[in-house]
Protein backbone atom coordinates (compact mmCIF):
# COMPACT_ATOMS: atom_id res chain seq x y z
CA UNK A 1 0.00 0.00 0.00
CA UNK A 2 2.77 2.37 0.99
CA UNK A 3 4.59 1.40 -2.16
CA UNK A 4 1.61 2.43 -4.29
CA UNK A 5 1.19 5.63 -2.30
CA UNK A 6 4.80 6.71 -2.62
CA UNK A 7 5.67 5.45 -6.04
CA UNK A 8 2.49 6.00 -8.06
CA UNK A 9 0.80 8.90 -6.32
CA UNK A 10 3.98 10.67 -5.26
CA UNK A 11 3.41 10.99 -1.51
CA UNK A 12 0.94 13.29 0.21
CA UNK A 13 1.28 16.35 -2.00
CA UNK A 14 1.19 14.27 -5.16
CA UNK A 15 -1.92 12.42 -4.00
CA UNK A 16 -3.75 15.67 -3.19
CA UNK A 17 -2.78 17.11 -6.56
CA UNK A 18 -4.06 14.03 -8.36
CA UNK A 19 -7.30 13.99 -6.35
CA UNK A 20 -8.01 17.64 -7.20
CA UNK A 21 -7.27 17.09 -10.87
CA UNK A 22 -9.40 13.94 -10.92
CA UNK A 23 -12.32 15.82 -9.32
CA UNK A 24 -12.00 18.51 -11.96
CA UNK A 25 -11.80 16.17 -14.92
CA UNK A 26 -14.19 13.43 -13.82
CA UNK A 27 -16.84 15.43 -11.95
CA UNK A 28 -16.72 19.20 -12.25
CA UNK A 29 -16.10 19.63 -15.97
CA UNK A 30 -18.62 16.98 -17.14
CA UNK A 31 -21.29 18.53 -14.89
CA UNK A 32 -20.51 22.14 -15.72
CA UNK A 33 -20.04 22.01 -19.48
CA UNK A 34 -22.35 21.18 -22.34
CA UNK A 35 -21.39 18.34 -24.63
CA UNK A 36 -19.78 20.56 -27.25
CA UNK A 37 -17.49 22.19 -24.73
CA UNK A 38 -16.79 18.90 -22.98
CA UNK A 39 -15.76 17.38 -26.29
CA UNK A 40 -13.37 20.31 -26.69
CA UNK A 41 -11.92 19.60 -23.25
CA UNK A 42 -11.54 15.98 -24.30
CA UNK A 43 -9.57 17.15 -27.31
CA UNK A 44 -7.35 19.36 -25.14
CA UNK A 45 -6.73 16.47 -22.78
CA UNK A 46 -5.32 14.43 -25.66
CA UNK A 47 -2.65 17.14 -26.01
CA UNK A 48 -2.01 16.72 -22.30
CA UNK A 49 -0.59 13.27 -23.09
CA UNK A 50 2.11 14.94 -25.15
CA UNK A 51 2.68 17.49 -22.40
CA UNK A 52 3.07 14.72 -19.82
CA UNK A 53 5.53 12.96 -22.12
CA UNK A 54 7.56 16.16 -22.25
CA UNK A 55 7.80 16.24 -18.45
CA UNK A 56 9.68 12.95 -18.64
CA UNK A 57 11.76 13.83 -21.65
CA UNK A 58 12.39 17.55 -21.28
CA UNK A 59 11.66 18.39 -17.65
CA UNK A 60 13.56 15.53 -16.07
CA UNK A 61 15.71 14.25 -18.94
CA UNK A 62 16.70 17.66 -20.23
CA UNK A 63 16.12 16.46 -23.79
CA UNK A 64 14.06 18.99 -25.68
CA UNK A 65 12.09 17.33 -28.44
CA UNK A 66 10.40 19.65 -30.90
CA UNK A 67 8.87 16.64 -32.62
CA UNK A 68 6.34 15.21 -30.20
CA UNK A 69 3.70 15.96 -32.84
CA UNK A 70 5.30 13.22 -34.95
CA UNK A 71 4.42 10.57 -32.38
CA UNK A 72 1.06 12.12 -31.58
CA UNK A 73 0.34 12.06 -35.31
CA UNK A 74 1.58 8.52 -35.90
CA UNK A 75 -0.67 7.24 -33.10
CA UNK A 76 -3.55 9.25 -34.49
CA UNK A 77 -3.00 8.07 -38.06
CA UNK A 78 -2.84 4.41 -37.02
CA UNK A 79 -6.23 4.77 -35.35
CA UNK A 80 -7.62 6.79 -38.26
CA UNK A 81 -6.58 4.11 -40.77
CA UNK A 82 -8.58 1.49 -38.91
CA UNK A 83 -11.64 3.73 -38.62
CA UNK A 84 -11.38 4.75 -42.27
CA UNK A 85 -11.31 1.16 -43.46
CA UNK A 86 -14.35 0.42 -41.36
CA UNK A 87 -16.12 3.45 -42.86
CA UNK A 88 -15.24 2.32 -46.39
CA UNK A 89 -17.16 -0.93 -46.76
CA UNK A 90 -18.22 -1.80 -50.33
CA UNK A 91 -21.85 -0.97 -49.56
CA UNK A 92 -21.31 2.68 -48.59
CA UNK A 93 -18.64 3.26 -51.24
CA UNK A 94 -20.45 1.65 -54.16
CA UNK A 95 -20.51 4.85 -56.22
CA UNK A 96 -16.68 4.82 -56.37
CA UNK A 97 -14.92 3.31 -59.36
CA UNK A 98 -13.26 0.87 -56.93
CA UNK A 99 -15.70 0.22 -54.11
CA UNK A 100 -14.35 -0.91 -50.74
CA UNK A 101 -11.30 1.32 -50.55
CA UNK A 102 -11.14 4.70 -48.75
CA UNK A 103 -12.63 7.54 -50.80
CA UNK A 104 -9.40 9.56 -51.14
CA UNK A 105 -7.65 6.56 -52.67
CA UNK A 106 -10.38 6.31 -55.24
CA UNK A 107 -10.02 10.02 -56.08
CA UNK A 108 -6.29 9.44 -56.55
CA UNK A 109 -6.87 6.62 -59.05
CA UNK A 110 -5.76 3.85 -56.74
CA UNK A 111 -7.48 0.61 -57.62
CA UNK A 112 -6.57 -1.55 -54.69
CA UNK A 113 -5.73 -1.18 -51.02
CA UNK A 114 -1.97 -0.61 -50.46
CA UNK A 115 -0.25 -3.47 -48.58
CA UNK A 116 0.49 -1.46 -45.46
CA UNK A 117 -3.19 -0.61 -45.09
CA UNK A 118 -4.26 -4.27 -45.09
CA UNK A 119 -3.44 -5.16 -41.46
CA UNK A 120 -5.40 -2.15 -40.23
CA UNK A 121 -8.58 -4.11 -40.90
CA UNK A 122 -7.81 -5.83 -37.63
CA UNK A 123 -8.59 -3.92 -34.41
CA UNK A 124 -6.08 -5.82 -32.29
CA UNK A 125 -3.33 -5.01 -34.77
CA UNK A 126 -4.38 -1.38 -34.80
CA UNK A 127 -4.16 -1.03 -31.03
CA UNK A 128 -0.74 -2.66 -31.10
CA UNK A 129 0.32 -0.38 -33.96
CA UNK A 130 -0.82 2.75 -32.11
CA UNK A 131 1.60 1.85 -29.35
CA UNK A 132 4.39 0.18 -31.30
CA UNK A 133 4.79 2.16 -34.53
CA UNK A 134 5.70 5.44 -32.77
CA UNK A 135 7.77 3.62 -30.14
CA UNK A 136 9.82 1.78 -32.75
CA UNK A 137 10.20 4.96 -34.77
CA UNK A 138 11.47 6.69 -31.61
CA UNK A 139 13.79 3.77 -30.99
CA UNK A 140 15.37 4.18 -34.42
CA UNK A 141 15.74 7.97 -34.09
CA UNK A 142 16.88 7.70 -30.49
CA UNK A 143 19.39 4.95 -31.18
CA UNK A 144 20.98 6.74 -34.10
CA UNK A 145 21.21 10.05 -32.26
CA UNK A 146 21.96 9.21 -28.62
CA UNK A 147 24.53 6.53 -29.44
CA UNK A 148 26.39 9.22 -31.38
CA UNK A 149 25.95 11.57 -28.45
CA UNK A 150 23.84 14.06 -30.34
CA UNK A 151 22.07 16.21 -27.81
CA UNK A 152 20.91 19.65 -26.80
CA UNK A 153 20.05 22.11 -29.53
CA UNK A 154 21.07 19.67 -32.27
CA UNK A 155 18.60 17.10 -31.03
CA UNK A 156 15.83 19.72 -30.91
CA UNK A 157 16.57 20.84 -34.46
CA UNK A 158 16.68 17.30 -35.83
CA UNK A 159 13.37 16.34 -34.20
CA UNK A 160 11.84 19.48 -35.63
CA UNK A 161 13.10 18.57 -39.08
CA UNK A 162 11.66 15.08 -38.72
CA UNK A 163 8.29 16.67 -37.95
CA UNK A 164 8.61 18.75 -41.10
CA UNK A 165 9.68 15.79 -43.24
CA UNK A 166 6.80 13.65 -42.03
CA UNK A 167 4.32 16.43 -42.80
CA UNK A 168 5.70 16.87 -46.30
CA UNK A 169 5.59 13.10 -46.82
CA UNK A 170 1.98 12.82 -45.69
CA UNK A 171 0.87 15.77 -47.79
CA UNK A 172 2.81 14.52 -50.82
CA UNK A 173 1.55 10.93 -50.75
CA UNK A 174 -2.08 11.90 -51.15
CA UNK A 175 -3.24 8.55 -52.45
CA UNK A 176 -1.90 6.68 -49.45
CA UNK A 177 -2.46 9.18 -46.68
CA UNK A 178 -5.31 11.47 -47.66
CA UNK A 179 -2.88 14.35 -48.22
CA UNK A 180 -3.42 17.77 -46.70
CA UNK A 181 -7.05 17.01 -45.81
CA UNK A 182 -6.01 14.04 -43.76
CA UNK A 183 -8.22 11.05 -43.08
CA UNK A 184 -11.74 12.34 -42.59
CA UNK A 185 -15.30 11.15 -42.29
CA UNK A 186 -14.66 8.52 -39.62
CA UNK A 187 -17.83 6.94 -38.28
CA UNK A 188 -17.70 3.76 -36.28
CA UNK A 189 -15.38 1.73 -34.09
CA UNK A 190 -16.20 -1.97 -34.40
CA UNK A 191 -19.75 -0.99 -35.31
CA UNK A 192 -20.04 1.49 -32.42
CA UNK A 193 -20.95 4.97 -33.68
CA UNK A 194 -18.33 7.36 -32.28
CA UNK A 195 -20.25 10.45 -33.35
CA UNK A 196 -23.35 10.31 -31.21
CA UNK A 197 -23.72 11.98 -27.83
CA UNK A 198 -23.40 9.00 -25.52
CA UNK A 199 -20.23 7.76 -27.17
CA UNK A 200 -18.71 11.22 -26.90
CA UNK A 201 -19.22 11.02 -23.15
CA UNK A 202 -17.81 7.51 -23.03
CA UNK A 203 -14.75 8.48 -25.07
CA UNK A 204 -14.17 11.51 -22.83
CA UNK A 205 -14.03 9.27 -19.80
CA UNK A 206 -11.88 6.61 -21.46
CA UNK A 207 -9.49 9.36 -22.44
CA UNK A 208 -9.44 10.74 -18.91
CA UNK A 209 -8.77 7.28 -17.45
CA UNK A 210 -5.93 6.72 -19.88
CA UNK A 211 -4.47 10.11 -19.02
CA UNK A 212 -4.41 9.22 -15.35
CA UNK A 213 -2.91 5.84 -16.20
CA UNK A 214 -0.13 7.59 -18.07
CA UNK A 215 0.43 10.01 -15.19
CA UNK A 216 0.72 7.08 -12.78
CA UNK A 217 3.17 5.32 -15.09
CA UNK A 218 5.26 8.46 -15.40
CA UNK A 219 5.20 9.00 -11.66
CA UNK A 220 6.40 5.45 -11.17
CA UNK A 221 9.30 6.04 -13.56
CA UNK A 222 10.23 9.39 -12.05
CA UNK A 223 10.21 8.21 -8.44
CA UNK A 224 12.48 5.26 -9.26
CA UNK A 225 16.24 5.38 -9.43
CA UNK A 226 15.71 5.94 -13.15
CA UNK A 227 14.12 9.30 -12.36
CA UNK A 228 17.02 10.36 -10.20
CA UNK A 229 19.42 9.26 -12.92
CA UNK A 230 17.55 11.44 -15.42
CA UNK A 231 18.07 14.44 -13.16
CA UNK A 232 21.68 13.46 -12.65
CA UNK A 233 22.25 13.17 -16.39
CA UNK A 234 20.66 16.55 -17.01
CA UNK A 235 23.09 18.04 -14.53
CA UNK A 236 26.38 16.14 -15.10
CA UNK A 237 26.16 13.69 -17.94
CA UNK A 238 29.84 12.75 -17.77
CA UNK A 239 29.67 11.95 -14.08
CA UNK A 240 26.82 9.51 -14.77
CA UNK A 241 28.73 7.94 -17.63
CA UNK A 242 31.84 7.53 -15.50
CA UNK A 243 29.77 6.04 -12.71
CA UNK A 244 29.16 3.02 -14.88
CA UNK A 245 25.95 3.85 -16.71
CA UNK A 246 25.42 3.64 -20.44
CA UNK A 247 23.81 7.07 -20.68
CA UNK A 248 22.51 6.61 -24.22
CA UNK A 249 20.35 3.62 -23.24
CA UNK A 250 18.59 5.70 -20.61
CA UNK A 251 17.94 8.48 -23.08
CA UNK A 252 16.66 6.08 -25.72
CA UNK A 253 14.29 4.51 -23.20
CA UNK A 254 12.82 7.78 -22.01
CA UNK A 255 12.46 8.97 -25.60
CA UNK A 256 10.57 5.79 -26.53
CA UNK A 257 8.28 6.05 -23.50
CA UNK A 258 7.53 9.66 -24.30
CA UNK A 259 6.74 8.71 -27.90
CA UNK A 260 4.37 5.99 -26.72
CA UNK A 261 2.56 8.34 -24.35
CA UNK A 262 2.11 10.97 -27.05
CA UNK A 263 0.84 8.33 -29.45
CA UNK A 264 -1.91 7.23 -27.07
CA UNK A 265 -3.00 10.87 -26.96
CA UNK A 266 -3.01 10.97 -30.76
CA UNK A 267 -5.20 7.87 -31.05
CA UNK A 268 -7.68 9.31 -28.54
CA UNK A 269 -7.66 12.56 -30.49
CA UNK A 270 -8.74 10.76 -33.65
CA UNK A 271 -11.52 8.96 -31.81
CA UNK A 272 -12.90 12.10 -30.19
CA UNK A 273 -12.50 14.57 -33.01
CA UNK A 274 -13.34 12.20 -35.84
CA UNK A 275 -10.46 12.90 -38.19
CA UNK A 276 -6.68 13.16 -38.39
CA UNK A 277 -4.68 15.47 -40.59
CA UNK A 278 -1.08 16.60 -41.12
CA UNK A 279 -1.82 19.83 -39.27
CA UNK A 280 -1.46 17.85 -36.01
CA UNK A 281 1.89 16.37 -36.99
CA UNK A 282 4.08 19.26 -38.05
CA UNK A 283 6.25 21.90 -36.46
CA UNK A 284 3.54 24.19 -35.09
CA UNK A 285 1.65 21.57 -33.06
CA UNK A 286 4.96 20.12 -31.84
CA UNK A 287 6.04 23.50 -30.54
CA UNK A 288 2.60 24.12 -29.08
CA UNK A 289 3.01 20.95 -27.05
CA UNK A 290 6.28 22.27 -25.67
CA UNK A 291 4.49 25.51 -24.75
CA UNK A 292 1.76 23.58 -22.92
CA UNK A 293 4.45 21.84 -20.90
CA UNK A 294 6.38 25.07 -20.28
CA UNK A 295 3.31 26.99 -19.13
CA UNK A 296 2.13 24.19 -16.87
CA UNK A 297 5.60 23.58 -15.45
CA UNK A 298 7.89 21.09 -17.08
CA UNK A 299 8.78 19.42 -13.80
CA UNK A 300 5.18 18.72 -12.82
CA UNK A 301 3.04 15.89 -14.21
CA UNK A 302 -0.11 17.53 -12.84
CA UNK A 303 0.87 21.08 -13.71
CA UNK A 304 1.22 20.37 -17.42
CA UNK A 305 -2.38 19.13 -17.59
CA UNK A 306 -3.57 22.49 -16.23
CA UNK A 307 -1.15 24.22 -18.55
CA UNK A 308 -2.58 22.38 -21.55
CA UNK A 309 -6.16 23.16 -20.56
CA UNK A 310 -5.47 26.83 -19.88
CA UNK A 311 -3.49 27.53 -23.03
CA UNK A 312 -6.08 25.75 -25.14
CA UNK A 313 -9.02 27.54 -23.55
CA UNK A 314 -7.12 30.75 -24.15
CA UNK A 315 -6.51 29.74 -27.72
CA UNK A 316 -10.16 28.90 -28.37
CA UNK A 317 -11.46 32.07 -26.75
CA UNK A 318 -8.85 34.34 -28.21
CA UNK A 319 -8.88 32.94 -31.71
CA UNK A 320 -12.66 33.30 -31.83
CA UNK A 321 -12.21 37.07 -31.55
CA UNK A 322 -8.70 37.77 -32.89
CA UNK A 323 -7.63 34.77 -34.94
CA UNK A 324 -4.57 36.41 -36.51
CA UNK A 325 -3.15 37.60 -33.20
CA UNK A 326 -3.11 34.22 -31.50
CA UNK A 327 0.25 32.98 -32.77
CA UNK A 328 1.97 36.16 -31.62
CA UNK A 329 0.34 35.92 -28.23
CA UNK A 330 1.41 32.30 -27.95
CA UNK A 331 5.00 33.22 -28.79
CA UNK A 332 4.94 36.02 -26.22
CA UNK A 333 3.48 33.63 -23.65
CA UNK A 334 6.30 31.15 -24.25
CA UNK A 335 9.02 33.79 -23.96
CA UNK A 336 7.38 35.23 -20.86
CA UNK A 337 7.13 31.89 -19.15
CA UNK A 338 10.69 30.88 -19.96
CA UNK A 339 12.06 34.22 -18.79
CA UNK A 340 10.03 34.83 -15.67
CA UNK A 341 8.49 31.52 -14.60
CA UNK A 342 10.85 28.76 -15.71
CA UNK A 343 8.84 26.26 -13.67
CA UNK A 344 5.50 27.41 -15.01
CA UNK A 345 2.22 27.31 -13.15
CA UNK A 346 3.43 24.48 -10.93
CA UNK A 347 6.44 26.56 -9.93
CA UNK A 348 4.25 29.53 -9.04
CA UNK A 349 1.99 27.28 -7.00
CA UNK A 350 4.91 25.71 -5.15
CA UNK A 351 6.30 29.12 -4.34
CA UNK A 352 3.16 31.01 -3.48
CA UNK A 353 0.42 28.41 -3.16
CA UNK A 354 1.08 27.47 0.44
CA UNK A 355 1.49 31.15 1.26
CA UNK A 356 -1.87 31.90 -0.34
CA UNK A 357 -3.53 29.17 1.67
CA UNK A 358 -1.89 30.50 4.82
CA UNK A 359 -2.98 34.00 3.92
CA UNK A 360 -6.60 32.87 3.68
CA UNK A 361 -6.26 31.14 7.02
CA UNK A 362 -4.60 34.25 8.51
CA UNK A 363 -7.41 36.44 7.26
CA UNK A 364 -9.82 34.21 9.09
CA UNK A 365 -7.61 34.43 12.16
CA UNK A 366 -7.34 38.18 11.89
CA UNK A 367 -11.08 38.35 11.54
CA UNK A 368 -11.55 36.20 14.61
CA UNK A 369 -9.13 38.31 16.67
CA UNK A 370 -10.79 41.51 15.48
CA UNK A 371 -14.25 40.37 16.46
CA UNK A 372 -12.93 39.18 19.80
CA UNK A 373 -11.35 42.57 20.50
CA UNK A 374 -14.51 44.27 19.33
CA UNK A 375 -16.70 42.30 21.69
CA UNK A 376 -14.28 42.96 24.55
CA UNK A 377 -14.37 46.69 23.82
CA UNK A 378 -18.11 46.68 23.82
CA UNK A 379 -18.14 44.73 27.04
CA UNK A 380 -15.70 47.24 28.59
CA UNK A 381 -17.72 50.18 27.39
CA UNK A 382 -20.80 48.57 28.82
CA UNK A 383 -19.05 48.02 32.14
CA UNK A 384 -17.75 51.60 32.37
CA UNK A 385 -21.08 52.93 31.20
CA UNK A 386 -22.79 51.23 34.06
Amino acid sequence: MNFVYDRFLGGKNGAIGIAVLAALIFIILPLALDLFRLNLVGKYLTYAFAAVSLVLLWGYGGILSLGQGVFFGLGGYCMAMFLKLEASDPETTKIQSTPGIPDFMDWNQLTSLPWFWEPFNNFGFTVAAVILVPTIFALIIGYSMFKRRVGGVYFAIITQIIALILTVLIVGQQGYTGGINGITDLRTLNGWDIRDDSSKYILYFINAFLLFGVIFLSRFILTSKFGRLLLAMRDKEDRVRFSGYDVSNFKIFVFCISAMISAIGGAMFTLQVGFMSPSFVGIVPSIEMVIFAAVGGRMSLIGVVYGTLLVNFGKTMFSESFPELWLYLMGALFIGVVMYFPNGLAGIWDKHGSKMLKCIKNMQCVGAVKSMLESRRIAKADASGE
Binding site: D235, S243, G244
Partner: protein, 247 residues
Protein backbone atom coordinates in the same frame (compact mmCIF):
# COMPACT_ATOMS: atom_id res chain seq x y z
CA UNK B 1 52.17 -7.41 -24.61
CA UNK B 2 52.70 -9.86 -21.83
CA UNK B 3 50.68 -10.12 -18.67
CA UNK B 4 52.03 -8.53 -15.52
CA UNK B 5 51.38 -8.46 -11.81
CA UNK B 6 50.63 -4.77 -11.85
CA UNK B 7 47.13 -3.44 -11.31
CA UNK B 8 47.66 -0.90 -14.03
CA UNK B 9 50.18 -1.30 -16.81
CA UNK B 10 50.43 1.40 -19.46
CA UNK B 11 52.79 0.63 -22.32
CA UNK B 12 53.87 2.75 -25.29
CA UNK B 13 50.79 4.89 -24.95
CA UNK B 14 50.53 7.73 -27.44
CA UNK B 15 47.75 10.11 -28.27
CA UNK B 16 48.08 12.81 -30.83
CA UNK B 17 45.69 15.67 -31.44
CA UNK B 18 46.23 16.82 -35.04
CA UNK B 19 49.88 15.90 -34.86
CA UNK B 20 50.46 17.31 -31.37
CA UNK B 21 51.46 14.46 -29.10
CA UNK B 22 49.86 15.18 -25.74
CA UNK B 23 51.06 11.84 -24.45
CA UNK B 24 54.13 10.39 -26.10
CA UNK B 25 55.20 6.77 -25.71
CA UNK B 26 54.29 6.64 -22.07
CA UNK B 27 55.09 3.66 -19.84
CA UNK B 28 53.61 3.62 -16.37
CA UNK B 29 53.06 0.80 -13.90
CA UNK B 30 51.02 1.02 -10.73
CA UNK B 31 51.01 -1.69 -8.08
CA UNK B 32 48.25 -2.91 -5.85
CA UNK B 33 48.02 -0.94 -2.57
CA UNK B 34 50.10 1.78 -4.13
CA UNK B 35 49.33 5.48 -4.04
CA UNK B 36 51.00 7.12 -6.99
CA UNK B 37 51.08 10.86 -7.54
CA UNK B 38 51.59 12.33 -10.98
CA UNK B 39 52.98 15.85 -11.08
CA UNK B 40 54.20 18.06 -13.85
CA UNK B 41 53.92 21.57 -15.24
CA UNK B 42 50.79 22.77 -17.03
CA UNK B 43 50.21 21.01 -20.32
CA UNK B 44 52.39 18.05 -19.37
CA UNK B 45 49.54 15.65 -20.24
CA UNK B 46 48.53 14.61 -16.73
CA UNK B 47 44.80 14.97 -17.16
CA UNK B 48 45.05 13.46 -20.64
CA UNK B 49 46.54 10.30 -19.13
CA UNK B 50 43.53 9.97 -16.85
CA UNK B 51 41.20 10.67 -19.77
CA UNK B 52 42.88 7.87 -21.71
CA UNK B 53 42.62 5.37 -18.87
CA UNK B 54 38.92 6.03 -18.21
CA UNK B 55 38.06 6.06 -21.90
CA UNK B 56 37.11 9.71 -22.27
CA UNK B 57 39.80 10.11 -24.91
CA UNK B 58 40.75 7.34 -27.32
CA UNK B 59 44.43 6.57 -27.67
CA UNK B 60 46.26 6.70 -30.98
CA UNK B 61 48.43 3.71 -30.16
CA UNK B 62 49.71 1.68 -27.23
CA UNK B 63 47.99 -0.28 -24.55
CA UNK B 64 46.44 0.23 -21.14
CA UNK B 65 45.99 -2.94 -19.14
CA UNK B 66 44.04 -3.05 -15.93
CA UNK B 67 44.42 -6.38 -14.15
CA UNK B 68 45.61 -7.70 -17.52
CA UNK B 69 42.43 -6.52 -19.21
CA UNK B 70 42.85 -4.23 -22.18
CA UNK B 71 40.94 -0.99 -21.56
CA UNK B 72 41.57 0.90 -24.78
CA UNK B 73 38.84 -0.98 -26.64
CA UNK B 74 36.16 -0.69 -23.94
CA UNK B 75 33.34 1.85 -23.65
CA UNK B 76 33.42 4.24 -20.69
CA UNK B 77 30.82 2.42 -18.61
CA UNK B 78 32.52 -0.93 -19.23
CA UNK B 79 35.78 0.48 -17.89
CA UNK B 80 33.90 1.55 -14.77
CA UNK B 81 32.40 -1.94 -14.47
CA UNK B 82 35.92 -3.38 -14.71
CA UNK B 83 36.76 -1.45 -11.53
CA UNK B 84 38.16 1.94 -12.49
CA UNK B 85 36.80 5.09 -10.85
CA UNK B 86 37.70 8.64 -11.76
CA UNK B 87 37.18 11.99 -10.08
CA UNK B 88 37.15 15.07 -12.27
CA UNK B 89 39.16 18.20 -11.76
CA UNK B 90 36.21 20.41 -10.90
CA UNK B 91 33.88 18.66 -8.49
CA UNK B 92 31.24 16.93 -10.52
CA UNK B 93 28.33 16.06 -8.34
CA UNK B 94 24.60 16.20 -8.95
CA UNK B 95 23.79 19.56 -7.41
CA UNK B 96 20.02 19.15 -7.61
CA UNK B 97 20.06 15.93 -5.57
CA UNK B 98 20.71 15.45 -1.86
CA UNK B 99 24.01 14.04 -0.60
CA UNK B 100 22.20 10.79 0.13
CA UNK B 101 20.78 10.57 -3.39
CA UNK B 102 24.16 11.37 -4.88
CA UNK B 103 25.60 8.34 -3.15
CA UNK B 104 22.57 6.18 -3.86
CA UNK B 105 22.71 6.91 -7.57
CA UNK B 106 26.37 5.90 -7.55
CA UNK B 107 25.73 2.59 -5.79
CA UNK B 108 26.78 -0.15 -8.22
CA UNK B 109 23.46 -1.93 -8.57
CA UNK B 110 20.61 -1.35 -11.00
CA UNK B 111 22.90 0.00 -13.68
CA UNK B 112 20.71 -0.99 -16.61
CA UNK B 113 17.51 0.75 -17.69
CA UNK B 114 15.21 -1.87 -16.21
CA UNK B 115 17.45 -2.50 -13.23
CA UNK B 116 17.15 1.16 -12.32
CA UNK B 117 13.36 1.04 -12.56
CA UNK B 118 13.14 -1.82 -10.09
CA UNK B 119 16.04 -0.73 -7.86
CA UNK B 120 15.12 -0.62 -4.19
CA UNK B 121 17.13 1.22 -1.58
CA UNK B 122 17.24 -1.68 0.91
CA UNK B 123 19.15 -2.00 4.15
CA UNK B 124 22.36 -3.08 2.48
CA UNK B 125 22.42 0.04 0.32
CA UNK B 126 21.45 2.27 3.22
CA UNK B 127 24.17 0.87 5.49
CA UNK B 128 26.77 1.27 2.78
CA UNK B 129 25.73 4.87 2.07
CA UNK B 130 26.06 5.78 5.76
CA UNK B 131 29.38 3.98 5.96
CA UNK B 132 30.82 5.90 3.03
CA UNK B 133 29.33 9.19 4.25
CA UNK B 134 31.13 8.71 7.54
CA UNK B 135 34.38 8.01 5.74
CA UNK B 136 34.17 11.23 3.73
CA UNK B 137 33.20 13.35 6.76
CA UNK B 138 29.69 14.03 5.49
CA UNK B 139 27.51 11.84 7.69
CA UNK B 140 25.73 14.86 9.14
CA UNK B 141 24.96 16.31 5.73
CA UNK B 142 23.16 13.35 4.15
CA UNK B 143 19.85 15.16 3.73
CA UNK B 144 21.36 18.40 2.55
CA UNK B 145 20.99 19.46 -1.06
CA UNK B 146 24.49 18.95 -2.39
CA UNK B 147 24.60 22.34 -4.10
CA UNK B 148 24.83 23.85 -0.62
CA UNK B 149 28.02 22.01 0.33
CA UNK B 150 31.32 23.87 0.49
CA UNK B 151 33.80 23.39 -2.32
CA UNK B 152 35.91 21.01 -0.24
CA UNK B 153 32.90 18.98 0.82
CA UNK B 154 31.89 18.64 -2.82
CA UNK B 155 35.33 17.20 -3.55
CA UNK B 156 34.83 14.68 -0.75
CA UNK B 157 31.37 13.80 -1.95
CA UNK B 158 32.71 12.99 -5.38
CA UNK B 159 35.39 10.80 -3.83
CA UNK B 160 32.60 9.11 -1.84
CA UNK B 161 30.60 8.51 -5.01
CA UNK B 162 33.59 6.61 -6.32
CA UNK B 163 34.30 4.76 -3.07
CA UNK B 164 30.78 3.37 -2.92
CA UNK B 165 31.58 1.52 -6.14
CA UNK B 166 34.63 -0.04 -4.52
CA UNK B 167 36.93 0.51 -7.49
CA UNK B 168 40.26 -1.26 -7.62
CA UNK B 169 41.83 1.70 -9.33
CA UNK B 170 40.87 5.13 -8.12
CA UNK B 171 41.98 8.16 -10.10
CA UNK B 172 41.75 11.60 -8.54
CA UNK B 173 42.37 14.77 -10.49
CA UNK B 174 43.48 17.51 -8.08
CA UNK B 175 41.48 16.37 -5.08
CA UNK B 176 42.53 19.19 -2.74
CA UNK B 177 42.08 22.14 -5.09
CA UNK B 178 40.17 24.86 -3.27
CA UNK B 179 40.42 23.22 0.14
CA UNK B 180 41.35 24.85 3.42
CA UNK B 181 44.45 23.71 5.33
CA UNK B 182 42.38 21.62 7.69
CA UNK B 183 40.46 20.04 4.87
CA UNK B 184 43.74 19.19 3.15
CA UNK B 185 44.91 17.37 6.23
CA UNK B 186 41.66 15.45 6.47
CA UNK B 187 41.90 14.56 2.78
CA UNK B 188 45.47 13.32 3.17
CA UNK B 189 44.31 11.12 6.00
CA UNK B 190 41.37 9.93 3.91
CA UNK B 191 43.60 9.03 0.97
CA UNK B 192 46.05 7.17 3.16
CA UNK B 193 43.13 5.20 4.52
CA UNK B 194 41.43 4.34 1.23
CA UNK B 195 44.52 3.27 -0.69
CA UNK B 196 44.53 -0.03 1.18
CA UNK B 197 43.35 -2.87 -1.01
CA UNK B 198 43.37 -0.79 -4.15
CA UNK B 199 45.58 1.38 -6.31
CA UNK B 200 45.21 5.12 -6.30
CA UNK B 201 46.46 7.51 -8.94
CA UNK B 202 46.45 11.18 -7.96
CA UNK B 203 47.26 14.31 -9.93
CA UNK B 204 48.29 17.16 -7.68
CA UNK B 205 50.15 20.45 -7.66
CA UNK B 206 50.42 21.05 -3.94
CA UNK B 207 53.85 19.70 -3.03
CA UNK B 208 53.25 19.64 0.74
CA UNK B 209 50.21 17.53 0.13
CA UNK B 210 52.07 15.26 -2.28
CA UNK B 211 54.73 14.66 0.30
CA UNK B 212 52.09 13.58 2.80
CA UNK B 213 50.44 10.97 0.62
CA UNK B 214 52.74 9.79 -2.16
CA UNK B 215 54.31 6.37 -2.13
CA UNK B 216 55.92 7.11 -5.45
CA UNK B 217 55.93 10.19 -7.66
CA UNK B 218 55.95 10.34 -11.44
CA UNK B 219 56.93 13.59 -13.13
CA UNK B 220 55.44 14.18 -16.55
CA UNK B 221 56.78 16.71 -18.99
CA UNK B 222 55.56 17.24 -22.55
CA UNK B 223 53.76 13.90 -22.55
CA UNK B 224 56.81 11.96 -21.43
CA UNK B 225 58.07 10.70 -18.12
CA UNK B 226 60.83 12.88 -16.81
CA UNK B 227 61.52 11.17 -13.50
CA UNK B 228 60.01 8.57 -11.26
CA UNK B 229 60.71 7.46 -7.70
CA UNK B 230 60.09 8.54 -4.14
CA UNK B 231 59.57 12.19 -3.32
CA UNK B 232 63.19 12.84 -2.25
CA UNK B 233 64.80 11.38 -5.35
CA UNK B 234 62.44 13.24 -7.62
CA UNK B 235 62.94 16.55 -5.83
CA UNK B 236 66.70 16.29 -6.20
CA UNK B 237 66.62 15.19 -9.81
CA UNK B 238 68.43 17.82 -11.90
CA UNK B 239 66.02 17.37 -14.84
CA UNK B 240 63.02 18.04 -12.64
CA UNK B 241 64.63 21.12 -11.14
CA UNK B 242 65.41 22.31 -14.64
CA UNK B 243 61.81 21.92 -15.80
CA UNK B 244 60.25 23.49 -12.73
CA UNK B 245 62.73 26.29 -12.14
CA UNK B 246 64.65 26.51 -15.41
CA UNK B 247 62.46 29.02 -17.20
Amino acid sequence: MSNTDFTLAIEDLTVSFDGFKAVDNLNLYVDKDELRVVIGPNGAGKTTVLDLICGKTKSTSGSIKFKNKELTKLAEHEIVHAGVGRKFQTPSIYENLSVYDNLEVSFPRGRGVFGSLTFKCDEEVDTRIREVAKEIFLEEFLDMESALLSHGQKQWLEIGMLLIQEPELLMLDEPVAGMSVKEREQTAELLNRICKGRSVLVIEHDMDFVEKIAHKVTVLHQGKILAEGDMKTVQNDPNVIEVYLGH
